[in-house]
Subunit: 340 residues, 2 copies
Amino acid sequence: MIFIDACLKKETPYTPIWMMRQAGRYLPEYRATRSKAGTFMDLCRNPELACEVTLQPIDLVGVDAAILFSDILVIPAEMGMDLEFISGRGPVFHDPIRMESDLKRLADDSDEKLTYVYDAIKLIRRDLADDKALIGFAGSPWTLATYMVEGGGSKTYEISKKMVYSAPHLMHAILRKNTDAIIRYLLKQIDAGVNAVQVFDSWGGALEESAFFEFSWSYMKEIADAIKSKHPEVPVILFSRGISGYLDKIDGNFDVFGVDWSTPIEKAKAALFDRYALQGNLEPTRLYSQEAIKSGVEHIIDVMGREPGHIFNLGHGMLPDLSPDNARYLVQLVHELTRR
Amino acid sequence: MIFIDACLKKETPYTPIWMMRQAGRYLPEYRATRSKAGTFMDLCRNPELACEVTLQPIDLVGVDAAILFSDILVIPAEMGMDLEFISGRGPVFHDPIRMESDLKRLADDSDEKLTYVYDAIKLIRRDLADDKALIGFAGSPWTLATYMVEGGGSKTYEISKKMVYSAPHLMHAILRKNTDAIIRYLLKQIDAGVNAVQVFDSWGGALEESAFFEFSWSYMKEIADAIKSKHPEVPVILFSRGISGYLDKIDGNFDVFGVDWSTPIEKAKAALFDRYALQGNLEPTRLYSQEAIKSGVEHIIDVMGREPGHIFNLGHGMLPDLSPDNARYLVQLVHELTRR
């Protein structure tokens, strides 16, 4: 699989590409499946429909890897938290975790309740071409904790960060529970058939440097260690957004560092490419214009060249109002410009 | 004035400190004045009350400089845009700028309508102790443009960034208008009596590196040039949030670089302290805990030492639910640890 080879810094015939949130609302086919499903969580919990939307961008856009269609919040939901996706507001937990006694509400067997995910993986792996990788994923312990503590999305992360500085032991207790749950979940995803795993630390950049390494990165490294010790052949991708100031302190036993668009690719290469493969980092809003796609792609390929170990991706997720045509144009351009 | 000396990298008896959003809701005295004013914009437009809240943190918290109480959005409001502050949602422009023909709606004489600001400055400067500086400010051209184009705050800046990549000439036309208005506004603030000016580029970090320098930083430099050529003695502070990945490309004719909390202070020092004074950068949520204040302050002072050219500040604004006691503790600690 060309995607797996690139993760492991092996030579590939061209630079593989996939896009974060490639299975999503910008595809009319996704919207059609979504409307059959009921709620968003109903779609996540339906293996057949989750399989269908996972495979759509492979055929429709031509990407080199599929990523399991799911949501990072299935873990806290299956820990027993009361999750609702409210239109125009996003995910809401009606029962946020704010004190020690709230921890008792978090069940330790979420990985056993996530069978619908493993079932989806089996269906996808059965239907996906053998040369295309399937990527499994989870949210990072810290990113999940922000939702669990804030009770939903946040602009400032005030409640979570207040906990970081005023009750660090409580935040660590939540992160401990999340980390253990994520490790068990990702190991079961691998057993079900995913070929690589990515940990999404979407809100890592909400923390200053010292807090980031203590409350987010250390747990991400622990997850990577646990996966690699059992499955050394499975690439582990770590993706923390908004940490371009902290690159020189990044370490750990993982394969691929996901580069967000706010980190210049030259700087990620200088700091990390001797140790890790790099994935990224086209600014997603460039997909509004083919001209902007072209100049962005050319710059990234100028920097990364054809040295083994680059996976092309966006620096953040696809936006719902982008055109599928431009997504296809991006994939073709990356393949064309990097083909040997 | 110790604050001005530090901006100009002169020796000071201790490191001066002020706090972004130091005049604000965390002070009961602010809330009392605010409740007398009517709407938030009524408070901005009332020179006596704006003076009152500007001076509160000087006496109550002990900071070394006052910052004019106002809002960055007074410029687009006085350009004629329909601004409303909606509780729980923030500022809203009911008539966003989306196409060429919308530009005609933006009046060119906003600086002449902002007399209530100049009147407030005169009152503040009359009542403020002679050894305390008064800082004037404006939003950056790009940051104002995001509000004007999105029609309010945003999490993703999709509409503004779509314009950056699909209609760059239109975005540049908006930025041109904003830049000209900001220069005229800041020059009039200086004429009215402010001792330094800060440009707040709160959303600079919404742009990838190349777009940041083209659509935000270049205009901020133009503002700094215009101020410094007329008033070489007035310190100019530029503050862009979320650009820790771009520090090595920062240049321009200004005095102080504002360091947000996501930029490790060591890195700002290494990249910029040979050319600029530095202001910052305590993570504001540390103010929830005196222990966290202490370790954060000690770290910043360890790095910056007592070399001339450091102004202590937060890395972002004060939060409404912080305690005035902890703000006072911070100010005393910085003074105590840096006094010669």
